[in-house]
Symmetry: C2
Subunit: 388 residues, 2 copies
């Protein structure tokens, strides 16, 4: 059964105060919903996206084959997050470039495109904006909030900012903050963008150019960190581009600027594709939101103290070969929650695919999520109570 | 006792045929020597450099405090590679930018700077050029060849290309080839350089510009891969720039383009420094030499077959937190040598510093190298036989 997705947009006219002290005067949020809200409005699940994803988390657009949402393996009718039982909401974050207000939007204060003037947004700001969307949808309490990677940080932050509004939280392939290496990779990617002469300090829209060189480099770096060493060796190894058979092993072309190895071809392709659709200012904003997230920061570095106010029941999932957000980082969250005597399920999945694993179809992973949502669904009013 | 280094240069007029099929018509090699060659010319040790180093491996230049060679912790009077007993040779590789012929040199065929026309050179080509330097110095056989990282690849290649000329080989923090992830990082760095508008296809010298943006990004990426996660967390963690005391934890400035974290400041500094002195074409050439090195390639992928012709005694050293050239890669070499019944010592050093560890003062590491050279020295004629 095909789930058909319908993008929607909600306008918010009240200014949103931000962590930085600035505010956004008015804004739109692009979102999608799947499934049906039940009579007592208790079966809503909010799904938060990571760096380059959007509100289109599941299903396809009418008449657009291949337009599956980014988490379509996870979410849909009969899937681990079952849209026959839950009312699922995907929302594009503020500052992104897929329909919500962001750097490409018009700044009402100036009448010009925001560009570099779009305010810095944080995970906490996104959660506040998402809470207003729920208000508008008249959803007081979420059955669950769920996210992977940066989306997991939002799920975690929901339990701290609005503990009374979220009964369950799934934090997948995530971390309680970025470590120095994570920040370092983000910074190199940002420098590649900012030092691209076509960036023009972030105000490149008026010049009718796009800092594609920088975006390409940023995406190539990202891709390396999403994949595990193992999967790269298996998928590409040292295979030469266009190499077939044993003789091809010898066929070096001795070039420094042209493609020689398949891994180079793959990375260039990913970089090119990304630079065609992603906004450079959004890339800066979203990587900075990652850098800044650190709930322990205002608790003397104690994650246990920081998570003391969370009352949700948790599912944590990590993947053994994820070196971007390693299992050790998930275990820090598990430990802090257990020290607060919270209800926590934790699955450490032995998967070869690195950080990308959270988007892929691993049967053990999907089974763990399915079981967790099954228990949540069992606590809901019977399906017959749903209004259509 | 201070070792004083004196840079020298040797001119070679005979063309050097290269692996690519091209050749270099004539060239200079910059080199330095330390210690005294003994009477039977049997105590020479060649030290091979890695990506951004040079022939200046040990000692200081007269009147230049702080000019220590890049491996001065390892090499000198009374040091693990003891210049009181060995005649040590450091040589700058062809294509580099520290005195040997490279992309910044004049191409005798055109009368213009080589730039992008400098031929692609391989580890094997470097070894051939080094062998000619030994010929000129009338050194038939090396007591040892030694190198770390890319230098270790040269040491390994020496034992395959000139097995009769090298009695011992120390291959440190190295690998039998690059894996897909290693190549991927090199490729991103190269793309950053090549797509810098100031690169001009490699012929930027005539334009009186330098592709500094690209070099900075390349170096930042490099630095991340040289350090371990652990040492980055310990050295920088999430500390903010200029942060002092507990209150500073709260002092986010909410900026995407300015420096917020100390790790960012460190990386930018390293990138800036590198872009001031390193040649962009050399960066491409040297990373490509890394990519291409793969002795098993012409042996159906069998490293054991590839190393069958090596007769030297080996020392392999790896460092537990080196994720660029992990211990597993060194163990592949050890295994292949043992399958050929070669004499191999292997030290896996539990060090926190990542790939950089091979350049640092770790007492266990230095002791292992000292012991290995001690056995080599013991087999030499008594020191009294040395001519002064």
């Amino acid at each position: 059964m095909t789930l058909v997705a319908l993008p929607q947009s909600m306008r918010f006219d009240a200014p949103l105060p931000l962590q930085s002290g600035a505010s956004i005067r008015g804004y739109d949020l692009a979102y999608e919903t799947y499934g049906t809200l039940n009579a007592d409005r208790s079966n809503a699940v909010l799904v938060c996206h990571a760096l380059n994803a959007s509100h289109h988390v599941a299903g396809v657009y009418e008449g657009q084959p291949g337009s599956e949402g980014w988490w379509d393996t996870m979410i849909g009718p009969g899937k681990p997050l079952d849209t026959n039982r839950f009312f699922v909401i995907g929302v594009n974050n503020l500052g992104s470039c897929f329909g919500s207000t962001g750097p490409m939007s018009i700044n009402p204060d100036t009448g010009r495109v925001y560009g570099a003037d779009f305010p810095v947004v944080t995970v906490e700001d996104w959660v506040d904006a998402q809470a207003r969307l729920l208000d508008a949808l008249e959803i007081e309490t979420l059955a669950a909030v769920m996210g992977g990677s940066l989306g997991g940080m939002q799920a975690l932050s929901w339990t701290l900012q609005y503990p009374e509004r979220v009964r369950n939280a799934a934090v997948i392939a995530s971390a309680p903050n970025l470590n120095a290496e994570n920040i370092a990779f983000n910074e190199v990617a940002r420098r590649a963008i900012v030092t691209d002469p076509d960036f023009h300090g972030g105000n490149f829209y008026a010049q009718a150019v796009v800092p594609k060189r920088g975006l390409r480099i940023a995406r190539m770096i990202g891709h390396i960190t999403y994949l595990s060493d193992d999967v790269m060796n298996e998928k590409f190894g040292r295979t030469l581009r266009g190499a077939v058979g044993e003789a091809a092993r010898e066929a070096y072309h001795y070039t420094t600027q042209d493609i020689e190895f398949q891994i180079e071809s793959y990375l260039r392709y990913q970089g090119d594709k990304f630079s065609e659709y992603f906004d450079a200012n959004t890339y800066l904003l979203i990587t900075r939101a990652l850098d800044y997230f650190d709930p322990a920061r205002l608790h003397g570095g104690s994650l246990t103290q920081a998570l003391a106010t969370a009352t949700a029941r948790f599912l944590l999932v990590s993947f053994t070969t994820d070196w971007r957000f390693s299992p050790a980082r998930s275990r820090e969250i598990v430990k802090a929650l257990l020290e607060n005597r919270r209800d926590v399920s934790y699955a450490e999945i032995d998967a070869p695919h690195g950080h990308d694993a959270f988007l892929l179809e691993d049967p053990r992973y999907l089974a763990a999520v399915r079981a967790w949502f099954g228990r949540i669904a069992a606590a809901l009013p019977p399906a017959g109570a749903a209004h259509e």
